[in-house]
Each structure stands twice: as structure tokens, then as C-alpha cells.
Symmetry: C2
Subunit: 364 residues, 2 copies
């Protein structure tokens, strides 16, 4: 078994675990920074390591288009290409095919689409996605799904979910390399019956882990949490669970409470480039604001990140205001440290039996 | 004496020296990366230190406009504001007032101008420039001059040079802080008599160092070198000499041959952001080029920089082509390493009496 459940919270569904991959162990719950095009935006690999990043995410759709699979193959996989020796999870490409590309035409076998970059026509389906992710050499491979748009009628959501289940069954039948783990993705929009059915069907197929997809797409936060409440009880305890594309610090804590082990999200990196820096309670401060012009304290007095140990709000504000790259680099480092450190705190609280206090801190 | 002449080349004017400042010793000849707005573009201070950067340059005009002197003063100077503990040289603001600002009106006391950012009216002259650089706390303060435009008639060049000499005399009379060194700037366009006269007049006034200004503004390279040949013999041996805004690796070697000790230039950082990476012989390769798409060798096989130890041309090309910040960060690091290492090689060659071989390598 590659996943080991280490602790369970006595009052919530929260879990402390450990996932073993060909590129090392991952302590869960874990947050995965997003490295869409082979780089976590503005960060170098050694900086990610300095922040104790355990695993990063790569995007199949983007990497398939640029640099293209012939280059990744000649580089001997994504790890070697980008200079990152720790685990990598890649998504299936499904989400971007549906959200970014043009001229889509869906068949039973996948999706014809035109690249958002230059309009070149491609086809991507379960077989193609698995072949690409095999070439990428990802430690965790995601099944090819349709992320059901929100809102969707129950009929549309059911049709989408059925197609996803078919595609995921096809993914399971494709060959992967030794050690690569395949995660299924639960869909079903915001409908309890569909979520339950999707989860049950995927568990029957049998995956190395299970993701909850189709959330954080516009639905209210309570609905997101309700979907988790409906879904996780149907997932096996001894497999890791991954909530895709989520979220805020509060949402992470709430989802851990509901039994989620893994997260990815662009929030810390994207907000950083817009000048929003996370502070202790999980909110952000707009560091470009005039009130920080002569504020020579760090972003967060209590933060131990490499940025807060050395740089002031006033300097970072200046850098962002004049458009210096160093400004967004510094806020990105700080925000990723914040997210990694939040997960450290969650894991320690689960180890020490104090998770409920931590949960209360973010939800009161 | 803050400057110590350590070695002189037996056949050329090349000099090996050491300059002591309040923030440490500088081994010369030295290259100074340009940190216009309080940041060497794309670089963090610890990365500059890792490359053994001895001193950086800051731009008075830019820092005066943003963040403004009240903020720098409250931060207790530029070193503290930007988190850089080694020496800083600041220019006088003159060059940018003449090249960037609008609505200039020149008087005996300085220049009325409108900010290039928002049109706000300011006045900058010798007194103002000295006061600003005192607040910045620069280790090396540059006198306020007019960088004579090229081409200029001999009459225009003489008028400009006379004004500069007046302004520089006024600079010398302004108070500076303990340890701050003031450098005069030789002007005179491409006219031998004017260059000689400017140098002689500045030496009479007496400065802690002497810069050669008004070059690399469009004149042919041989003209630049001729100006140096005319100028340096009139400068005292026991003071450092700084060639402003120059240049290519070959120009640096040629200028050292003519007795120059210090350089600043945006070439390594600016070319990096355009994807041009320096290789051994001082030329560049366009790393975005298609021929590097599947080239898994480093930028330069023989380079020991942190980038060439870890990253391939193929990956850097990909990063630059998709617009990832890491791409320009990596080429910037490589190019600055190249420039710093060129100066290391020049210093070692002067120490070992092999400078002529090095000179031949770049000029054959």
C-alpha cells in the first residue's frame, strides 16, 4: 500500500497520513503548489525546497502544447526537464480542454479541440491523457474527466458524470509505468445522488486515490462542503483523497475536517502577483496600499518565512508599485510559506490531538 | 587613502586595485550590476551575494521619484531599505533628468523638469543631488553633470562641459556624510581638447575618484577608446576611475587596458530579459531560438554558475517562450555571473602578469 493512515481525529473526519511515491514520501494533509507550464510561477526549484514543498502539480494540457511531448520525452520526463526531484502530480488535461481551448467537439473517445495559443487542432481523451502522463513520468496521474460546468441541471450533470465514469474506466485500462499511481475523479455537480453514485462507481473500478472534482467553480462555499460531506463517506479509508483546485486557508481546514488529504490551488501564487499577502488568520493584506508606504515591519510579525525575516512591507510595496519582478517573487515566497506552514500546523494538530482548536481558529 | 593601487600591468595601463568603503572593500577592476529602482532586475540580494557581487548601482532620479526621499530617510538609507549590506554607488540623477524627463529647463543651478511617470514638476541640481545621495547613504556619490548628447558640435560640447564643471565644483562644496566618497565626471564629448580640459579642471577641484561620462551614447567603439586614451593620462594614479554605462565584455577588457577600474552597465540584465545569454568568448546566444528546443546541455558547458550547474538550454528556452518569470531569472543570474567572472579573470590575470593574453583573447 502506498498510502498509510497514521492518525484519525476523534471528533471529525480529519486524517493524518503518508503517501509513498517513486520520488519520495508525502506527509498528508498536503498542499501542492501549481507549476502549470513546468514552473511554479516566479519560483525556482531550490526555493520551493527551502519552503519544504513536498509535491508540485503540472498541467498536462499546457505541457502537451508547449514544450510538447517530444521534448519532454527526450528530456527523460518532467522531473528531469524542470530540475525537480520530488513528487509531481499531473492533471489529465480535461479541465483546460474544457476551460481554455476553442472549437471543442466531444466524442465517446475524448475531445477534439483547437489550442488556445495558435488554434492548432488536437485530440485528447483517456488514452491520450494516460500516454502523455506516462511520458511526463508523474508520480500521481489523474484520470481524464469532464469538469461539469456550474450551474448544471441535474440531467446535464448526470450526463457529464456518466461520460466521466466511462472515460475514467478507460484510463484504468491504459498502461502506466512502474510506481505511477492513478487517481479517479468524482464528479456529479452539486447533486447528492450523483456525487454518491460517481464515488461508488469509481471505487468499483478501483483507483490508487480519489479526487473530488468540479468544485470551486462558482458554487457557494457551504455547497462545496456539503458535496464533500456526501462524497468522502463513500471513499475507501485506506486511499488518499484530493480536493482539486481548492482553496482559501479556511476552505482547506474545512475540507481536512471532512477527510481530505491533498489540495492544489493557484490562490497563493496568483494573489501574490496581485500584491495580496496572507497574514495569520488566513486573510490577506493589499501590500500595494498607501498605508504600507512607510511601514517598516515585515508582512507578518509572527511569520518565519525567508521574506519576513529580511524584507519590509514598505520595500515590497515599492517593488510592486514600480513593477519590479522581485516584488512578486517575495510575496509568492511568503504566500507559499503560509500555505505550507498551514499544512504543517494541521498535521501537527492531528498528531497532537489538537485539531479541533485549529479548526475553531479558522472558522469562528 | 581609500583607494590602493596593488599592481600595474607592465605593458598596458591596466591596474589592479582595492577600494575601501563604509560597507566593505571592493577589489578592482570591478563590474557593478544596475539596481535602478532599488532592485537589480529579477534578482534578490542573496542571489547577488552568491555571485560575489561586490557593489551595486542605484539611480538617484528613479529613487527620488519613487519611493521618494521621505521613505528612504525613514528606512535609514538605501542599504537598509533594500536589504543590501555591501557598497552602493548612486548616480547623480543628471543622466535620467536629461534622457527620461520632459519639459526640461536648465538654469545655472540645475534643471527644472517634469517626472516621466506623472508629470509632477521637480528641480534637481548639484545641491539637491548631493542632499539626496546623502539621504540614500551611498558609499560612492556621483557629481551632478550633463551627459552631453551625441553627436554634439564642439561649441555645444564645450558649453555643456563648462556647465558640468561648474555644477561639479558646487557638488564638492556640499556636505556629505562620513565615509561617503564623491566622484567627479569627465565630459567633453569626442573632442580631445575638451576631454583633457575637463579632466584637468576636475583634478584641480579634487575628487575621491574620477568617472568618464558621456560615452556609450552612440559613438563608434574606437572613438570611445580614443576618449579613454586622451583622458586617463590626466587622472591621478592613486584615485579610482569609473567608465559609466559601459559595456560589452570586449569593451570592458579594452577599457581596463586603458586604466579603468570600475564599470556599470545594464547589458547583462537587459539582454537576459530578452533571452540573450553570454558564452565564453563574450558573444551571446539567443536562447529562445528553435535550435535550442531539444538542446539538453547548459547555456555554456564551461560555466560554473548556479544555472549552468542545473538547468538546460531546452528548459530555459521553454520558460522564456511561454513567458515564465523563472526563465528571465535564470538568464539574468547566468549573465551576471559571466560579468562578475570576467572581472575575476581580469583581476587574476593582473595579479599573475598574464593580462595581455586575456586581452588578446577578447580582441583578436
Amino acid at each position: 500500500m502506498s498510502f498509510k493512515l497514521l492518525e484519525k481525529c476523534s471528533r471529525t473526519q480529519a486524517r493524518r497520513g503518508c503517501l509513498t511515491t517513486p520520488h519520495g514520501r508525502i506527509e498528508t494533509p498536503v498542499f501542492m503548489p501549481v507549476g502549470t507550464r513546468g514552473s511554479v510561477k516566479a519560483m525556482a526549484p531550490d526555493e520551493l525546497e527551502e519552503l519544504n514543498t513536498q509535491i508540485i502539480l503540472g498541467n498536462t494540457y499546457h505541457l502537451f502544447l508547449r514544450p510538447g511531448m517530444d521534448i519532454i520525452e527526450q528530456a527523460d520526463g518532467l522531473h528531469r526537464f524542470i530540475g525537480w526531484d520530488k513528487p509531481i502530480l499531473t492533471d489529465s488535461g480535461g479541465f483546460q480542454v474544457f476551460s481554455l481551448s476553442a472549437l471543442r467537439k466531444i466524442t465517446d473517445d475524448g475531445v477534439h479541440f483547437a489550442s488556445h495559443i495558435d488554434g492548432t487542432r488536437f485530440f485528447l481523451g483517456p488514452k491520450e491523457s494516460m500516454a502523455i502522463q506516462r511520458t511526463l513520468g508523474s508520480d500521481i496521474v489523474m484520470a481524464f474527466d469532464e469538469c461539469t460546468p456550474y450551474p448544471a441541471t441535474v440531467a446535464a450533470a448526470e450526463k457529464s458524470m456518466r461520460m466521466t465514469t466511462c472515460w475514467e474506466r478507460s484510463c484504468r485500462e491504459q498502461p502506466l509505468d512502474n510506481g505511477q499511481q492513478l487517481f479517479g475523479i468524482v464528479q456529479g455537480s452539486v447533486y447528492r445522488e450523483l456525487r454518491e453514485q460517481s464515488a461508488q462507481e469509481l471505487v468499483e473500478i478501483g483507483f490508487d486515490g480519489y479526487a473530488v472534482g468540479g468544485l470551486s467553480v462558482g458554487e457557494p462555499e457551504e455547497m462545496m462542503m456539503a458535496c464533500l460531506d456526501w462524497t468522502t463517506p463513500h471513499l475507501p479509508e485506506n486511499k488518499p483523497r484530493y480536493l482539486m483546485g481548492v482553496g482559501t486557508p479556511k476552505q482547506l481546514v474545512e475540507a481536512v475536517t471532512r477527510g481530505i488529504d491533498m489540495f492544489d490551488c493557484v490562490i497563493p501564487t496568483r494573489l501574490a502577483r496581485h500584491g495580496s499577502a496572507f497574514v495569520a488568520d488566513g486573510t490577506t493584506i493589499p501590500i500595494k496600499g498607501g498605508r504600507f508606504a512607510k511601514d517598516f515591519s515585515p508582512i507578518d510579525e509572527n511569520c518565519h518565512c525567508p521574506v519576513c525575516r529580511k524584507f519590509t512591507r514598505a520595500y515590497i510595496r515599492h517593488l510592486l508599485n514600480v513593477g519590479e519582478i522581485l516584488g512578486l517573487r517575495l510575496v509568492t515566497i511568503h504566500n507559499l510559506y503560509y500555505y505550507n506552514n498551514l499544512m504543517v500546523r494541521i498535521r501537527q494538530a492531528l498528531d497532537n490531538g489538537t485539531f479541533e482548536q485549529l479548526h475553531a481558529e479558522f472558522t469562528r
